[in-house]
């Protein structure tokens, strides 16, 4: 597909990389020549210098032949304007709109302006944080089938009863309806196979209905209750979205914000939240706010370095669930080694959403890509497909399908009911099917067949 990306910031760059790797023809547009040149040198794309919100520039970038225009500049208004102009040229548009003032109007904007997608990274990040806080034992929680099914990632502690157990023994020993999808051990990542034996410090992802997951975690001595109180450092947009969500869940929230005006604003909009006007980057302040007794701590300041320091400190003084927000994606391998529990990359969340949309845009034979998550970066993806037509997939029970190596059919949702598939089950038209695989870039489900 021909795709134009307006804005060469962090998200623009990640998108460029992933879309080029996905085999698309990408043209990037930015007003700053330096930024365009850097990206154009790094990736096999075309760069256009100019204001993406003008018709002339978009014309130069080839809007007439483009299939999709993605506006990810720093300004919401400009992004929307880009979309309006691109829309007139007859191409699909995606805009990043991050301000809370516009976010409530997102559905209206989407419909009235004819946008294909409005993406709000801060809101998406807040939602992801909220999911983890409801299930604090997990590092990451993804949902499929409108929340009917959850994919949870967690780390096995040293004394876990699961250590030394093989995957096929799980159901007989624990009597839980869950399915193990992937196991990460150090740098290695495995798609689950029956004879794989768990070791301590493995990172495991399982798929299950929320209730079943709850029982499973109780049986392996994990905390499965949502947290009761949260301390948040930094009162930016993510905090605002997050507090709203947590208030609805009835969780007690304290936000520390150093800017007086912002703190006052927050206290105005967030009635149920305690807003503290202080600089969070101070041991005294954190101790005063009882960080050592909190059940969860979320570091959401604007600086990655501060967030990392705050989280490391929190880890040393308390047993709280710790969530760290990181803006820069470049150093994720180093940060991953810091053992920081849950890390949220809002930029990745944005690009992941857009990539999913792009992949779903490709003409498919009989299945539609519905949801897509990166389980292990660059290695394993989990994708939810809706089966629209009869095909080879629906012809036989799973055990008779000739699946490719590294493919796991993790769940089938049929008429609102979740099936964790065994070999005898088969796929039917109308099902949503969750596929976990190391074949990156699936856009049609028939690709999982040999």
């Amino acid at each position: 597909m021909n795709i134009i990306i307006v804005g060469c910031g962090k998200v623009g760059r990640v998108l460029t990389q992933q879309l080029v790797e996905g085999g698309h023809n990408v043209t990037v547009v930015d007003t700053i020549a330096d930024k365009v040149n850097t990206v154009a040198e790094r990736y096999d794309i075309m760069g256009v210098i100019g204001n993406g919100a003008t018709h002339a520039t978009l014309q130069e970038a080839g809007i007439d032949n483009a299939d999709l225009m993605i506006a990810v500049t720093g300004s919401d208004e400009r992004n929307l304007l880009c979309c309006l102009i691109a829309k007139k040229a007859g191409c699909q548009t995606i805009a990043r709109v991050r301000s809370p003032q516009y976010s409530v109007e997102a559905p209206y904007l989407k419909d009235e302006l004819g946008l294909a997608m409005v993406i709000n990274p801060e809101q998406a990040a807040a939602q992801e944080i909220e999911r983890v806080l409801r299930f604090p034992s997990a590092i990451k929680v993804d949902t499929f089938g409108q929340g009917r099914i959850e994919m949870l990632k967690f780390r096995l502690p040293e004394d876990s009863p699961l250590c030394g157990m093989a995957i096929h023994e799980l159901s007989s020993k624990l009597h839980c309806d869950i399915l193990v999808c992937t196991v990460e051990r150090g740098e290695e990542a495995y798609i689950a196979k029956g004879d794989l034996v768990f070791q301590e410090r493995d990172v495991i992802s399982i798929i299950a209905e929320p209730k079943a997951a709850f029982t499973f975690f109780r049986k392996i001595n994990y905390k499965a209750q949502p947290v009761h109180d949260v301390l948040i450092a930094g009162g930016g947009d993510i905090s605002e979205y997050l507090c709203e969500l947590l208030e609805k869940d009835g969780i007690a929230v304290t936000v520390i914000e150093k800017d007086a005006v912002r703190a006052e604003y927050l206290s105005e909009v967030l009635q149920g939240t305690t807003v503290v006007h202080e600089d969070a980057v101070s041991q005294d302040v954190l101790m005063q706010e009882n960080i050592d007794k909190r059940e969860a701590f979320v570091a959401l300041t604007n600086f990655d370095e501060e967030n990392i320091l705050l989280s490391l400190f929190a880890k040393s003084v308390s047993h709280a669930k710790i969530i760290t927000k990181i803006n820069r994606i470049d150093f994720d391998s180093v940060i991953g080694k810091l053992d920081l529990d849950t890390i949220i990359y809002p930029k990745s969340v944005t690009s992941e959403n857009i990539i999913r949309y792009v992949r779903a845009m490709k003409k498919t034979i009989g299945t539609n890509l519905e949801t897509l998550y990166t389980l292990i970066k660059g290695k394993v993806e989990a994708a939810e497909f809706i089966v629209k037509k009869q095909s080879e997939l629906t012809s036989a029970p799973l055990m008779n399908l000739n699946l490719r190596e590294g493919v796991l059919i993790a769940a089938i949702i049929r008429r609102g009911k979740v099936i964790l598939p065994r070999g005898g089950d088969s796929i039917m038209v109308g099902d949503s099917v969750v596929v976990v695989s190391d074949l990156i870039g699936l856009h049609d489900m028939t690709e999982i067949l040999r």
Partner: protein
């Protein structure tokens, strides 16, 4: 430096060179020439070497800017050395430096020769000589890129280092698609010229040779008389195509995309302006030498087209022309073709930007507070581009001066030495006096020939890759 990737690309290059040698091999089959086995053997050798070099697929495919320059420089050296083997082993050119000179002159589309009797060469050798022009014209790495995805995303460094012009722009987002477009336009234009020539008075063999030599703006002909022995019709066709091949290929692409306005940009306008000016004034200057106006204009137009496009064909010995005509022709040699064409020289766009910047700087001297940016086709020219052009011109001047100085050791006159360097550095071919259109480069010593080989390579690759290859700083970790 990514050594494994370098070896891999050089391996690919050798395999492609083996494929290129199929062209003279087929010629040898058609004319029952015994050099067939020679070409087959060398091609096989290249194929095996290339295959061995590509056995180990590099794990790390990313290239830095430095890798790009070095790979391009090394590629052209390897290409030329192996391209010289047929001339040398067959005994057509007994000295290796001479054979290398001929091969480099071919690939760099210079067209300067050390041969006294071109006609005495077997036809397959002539075909190989002309065909090297075609390969070198658009660039061999660009050719490989059109066929194979070489590396992840950093192909741009290779393309930048190999393509002529101050700034390289893609036609479409993908390097590979861009390369396919460029070669597609190149091939079609060559084909049209071949058909037009073959319908004239030329034999198919001559038409093919002249067509590929014009396409690459090379200038190797199949007779000593160059283009002089053909009819006026053929000469006019070649004149038109020499000028067509020295226009930026992006313009043709835009024309195909139905954007005639963008296609006819400043560079093309200035280029055609210079060509017209030169043809008119030279015609006036040489009018008493020929009987009819049409003959005068034809010779003037052919020579102007030949030199500004840096092809180097000749219909007339312009060395006998009056002083003004000769001087203007030498100046045209410096200007050269448009960026992004197959021609050499400094390139019209560089000269336009250079003069615009000069004009601005002079204005700023009288109004020190004035802020003025260089603009071309309604776009601001980035500071980096202007800086690179200045560095380019400095390198150009230095190469020129040093080369002339070394050549002077042979004891020839200044005009000979000066035009020999200018004609090789700008990839033209013939100069004046001893290296004029009717003579050849055999008058120089081996040392001077090596300097000229360097100049041809440096000129084709626009100086930086070859100079960086020799700079010790490039090789430091």
């Amino acid at each position: 430096m990514n050594i494994r990737m370098t070896v891999y690309i050089l391996g690919l290059l050798m395999m492609f060179e083996a494929v290129f040698m199929a062209v003279p091999s087929v010629t040898a089959v058609i004319y029952h020439e015994q050099q067939l086995w020679l070409f087959a053997a060398i091609a096989l050798f290249c194929l095996i070497c290339g295959w061995l070099m590509t056995l180990a697929k590099p794990e790390r495919k990313n290239l830095s800017a430095r890798d790009g320059f070095l790979i391009v420089a090394l590629s052209w050296i390897v290409l030329s050395v192996f391209g010289a083997l047929p001339f040398y082993i067959s005994g057509c050119i007994p000295h290796f430096v001479d054979a290398l000179f001929e091969s480099v002159s071919g690939f760099t589309t210079t067209g300067a020769s050390i041969l006294h009797e071109v006609e005495s060469l077997p036809r397959c050798m002539l075909m190989w000589r002309s065909f090297t022009h075609w390969v070198g014209g658009m660039g061999v790495l660009v050719f490989i890129m059109a066929f194979l995805p070489i590396s992840g995303g950093q192909n741009m460094y290779l393309m930048k280092a190999e393509s002529p012009g101050p700034s390289v722009s893609k036609l479409v987002p993908r390097v590979r698609t861009t390369a396919i477009w460029l070669y597609g336009i190149y091939f079609v234009l060559t084909l049209i010229e071949f058909i037009l020539l073959a319908f004239g008075d030329m034999s198919v063999f001559d038409a093919l040779n002249i067509a590929v030599a014009t396409a690459g703006t090379g200038g190797f002909a199949v007779t000593n008389a160059s283009m002089g022995s053909y009819t006026p019709y053929s000469q006019v066709v070649v004149t038109v195509f020499m000028i067509l091949f020295s226009i930026n290929f992006t313009s043709y692409f835009l024309l195909l995309k139905k954007k005639p306005k963008e296609s006819f940009n400043t560079e093309v306008k200035v280029f055609l302006g210079i060509v017209t000016f030169a043809i008119v004034t030279i015609s006036l200057d040489i009018r008493h030498m020929y009987r009819t106006v049409s003959e005068t204009v034809r010779h003037a137009a052919f020579t102007v087209g030949s030199l500004i496009s840096t092809t180097g064909f000749g219909t007339e010995d312009f060395d006998r022309w009056p002083s003004y005509a000769r001087t203007l022709l030498v100046m045209l040699m410096f200007i050269g073709a448009c960026a992004g064409s197959t021609g050499g020289g400094i390139k019209v766009s560089r000269i336009v930007i250079f003069f615009k910047n000069m004009h601005n700087e002079l204005r700023v001297m009288t109004h020190p507070r004035q802020v003025k940016k260089v603009k071309m086709d309604g776009r601001q020219v980035e500071g980096e581009v202007i800086r690179t052009i200045h560095v380019y011109l400095a390198c150009y001047l230095l190469t020129c001066v040093v080369s002339i100085l070394i050549l002077s050791l042979d004891g020839h006159d200044l005009t000979t030495n000066f035009t020999a360097v200018v004609a090789t550095l700008n990839n033209i071919g013939p100069g004046l006096n001893l290296v004029g259109p009717t003579s050849n480069y055999d008058v120089f010593s081996t040392c001077s020939k090596c300097v000229l080989i360097f100049d041809m390579l440096a000129g084709r690759l626009e100086l930086f890759p070859i100079i960086l290859l020799l700079s010790p700083a490039t090789w430091k970790k």
